[in-house]
């Protein structure tokens, strides 16, 4: 009887201890499992939020430079009143829709990103940048770089009026900035940069045709007002065809050449030079632009910048501002605010 009694007392005690240990282990396991689920959910939502932010940044960077957002609201077909109104082309992981904002100069974008097991939506207000044009000395209308430089191209990103201002990038365009950087490197001594750290930038192409149309609407008479010696008056100048500079001239303001700008002598301009048909600088000729040089055409086969002489483009925010006063220049889109619905 006694051995059985001892066994009977030990077994329940062992079972009780086993039960308590199991309960403790199960509680710890449950706690760990809950935390693992929470961590996975947080990770997925954080990834989705990062994807939504990245998608928004990419979409806004690609929005056309301009004055309003009517073209964005019209959708990919460019016609309002059609079924694709408000649709914005985005990468695979997200959907983007555009809406009219209460303020006419703003745009609302709704971004819906799904990545892995997470999904995040956000809304953004989009405005136009304060600074006109692209943040670069030379703004290209096409993704491919210009042809090789035979003469000398100097890109001086230090502001000529205030060297304390941030250095301006050399070139911006709708192509991969790395290809522009490689093009500059391939030119060797034919291209000089004073601020090599200010790398080429991505930018949507300049709206050259609309800018010319606005110049016409603003009353810019065909022709130009250039003088032989400085100072030149700041003028809005539109040339509806090619412009050939055969004698030394100086100009200022905003020059829009709808054809090719052909430099055969010396030409100095303070402001923004827009050459929709490209620029050619003959051997022995010289072009100096203080402000910005905006170059077309968008056709990759057409010549964009042919330099056999010397070309210098210097940063000057003041000169660009004068041009902007003569005719409001296009601006890039930028994110003006974000709201996270969930």
């Amino acid at each position: 009887m006694r051995p059985r009694a001892r066994g009977a007392a030990g077994l329940p005690a062992a079972l009780a201890l086993l039960a308590v240990s199991t309960a403790l282990g199960a509680a710890l396991l449950e706690l760990t499992h809950t935390q693992a689920v929470l961590a996975r959910t947080r990770r997925n939502t954080a990834l989705a939020l990062a994807a939504a932010d990245g998608c928004l940044a990419t979409v806004v960077a690609r929005l056309p430079a301009g004055w309003s957002f009517a073209d964005v609201l019209a959708g990919p077909d460019g016609m309002s009143g059609t079924s694709d109104d408000g649709t914005v082309v985005a990468d695979g992981d997200c959907l983007v829709d555009a809406r009219v904002a209460p303020h006419p100069a703003r745009l609302l974008l709704d971004v819906d990103a799904v990545v892995g097991g997470g999904r995040r939506m956000l809304s953004a207000t989009v405005t136009r940048a304060t600074e006109p044009g692209a943040p670069a000395l030379v703004w290209l209308a096409r993704p491919t770089p210009p042809a090789s430089i035979g003469g000398l191209l100097v890109l001086d990103g230090v502001d000529v009026d205030d060297s304390a201002r941030p250095a301006v990038a050399s070139i911006a365009g709708p192509g991969d900035p790395a290809s522009l950087d490689a093009w500059i490197a391939a030119q060797g001594g034919h291209v000089e940069r004073t601020t090599p750290d200010a790398a080429p930038r991505f930018s949507p192409p300049p709206p050259l045709a609309e800018l010319a149309a606005r110049a016409v609407a603003a009353g810019a008479a065909p022709g130009g007002t250039f003088v032989a010696t400085p100072p030149a008056p700041a003028m809005l100048t539109r040339v509806p065809a090619d412009l050939v500079v055969a004698t030394p001239l100086v100009g200022a303001g905003l020059l829009i050449v709808e054809g090719r700008l052909d430099i055969m002598a010396s030409f100095e301009f303070s402001g923004v030079v827009v050459a929709a048909g490209g620029v050619r600088v003959a051997e022995g000729a010289r072009l100096v632009v203080r402000g910005g040089l905006w170059l077309g055409p968008s056709d990759p086969a057409a010549p964009l910048l042919e330099v056999e002489g010397d070309v210098t483009v210097q940063a000057s925010a003041d000169a660009v501002a004068v041009a902007d006063d003569l005719l409001p220049l296009p601006r890039r889109a930028r994110v003006g605010g974000i709201s996270d619905p969930g």
Binding site: R2, L17, V20, S21, L24, G25, A27, L28, L31, T34, Q35, L38, R42, A101, P102, H103, A105, R106, L108, T125, A129, T130, R334, V335, G336, G337, I338, S339, D340
Partner: protein
Amino acid sequence: MSRGFTLVELLVGLALGLVALGVLVGGVSAGARLLVMSGARVEATDAVVIAAESFQFDVRRAGWDPAGIDVEPLVTAQPGRVTLQADVDGDGSIDTGSEEVTSYVCSTGPPRLSRIIGAQSMPVAGDVSACGLRYLDATGAELVAGPGGLSTTARRAVRAVVLDLGVRPPALAAPATRSVPMALRSVP
């Protein structure tokens, strides 16, 4: 047949039994303590994460201005208090009694981080062992906020707000901490 146990046998058996029981009770007790501390650690970490998410939501939204009324994202910027505003409904005005004006306040008695909307104060994290706000400019340099907070000019130079938060429930020896830098999205 059965002669029973001697006194020595009983004492040795009792001692061995006590040792075994002690080891088992100690093990179970340690397990229970581990469970309680793990729970407290999880709770503290969760509190910090939830506070960070709430702070991130409001700072990202600060300056939301679809109607173009020039909404200043930061109304006050002090070491222990930040007030953010946004035209959430886009009606062109800021309703100070609504979620359009939100403050985060580090208080010492009791030690907690609160989110204040209008007259309503909601604790975001309790058992706070460290709580502070810092303000960074476009270069990432800290703008030192005195007791009165940053001036209007200095507030306009702020590009990011950092929440430094530590939570330590009584069961924990070391706090759960996190430093949350959040960029204002309404400024270039």
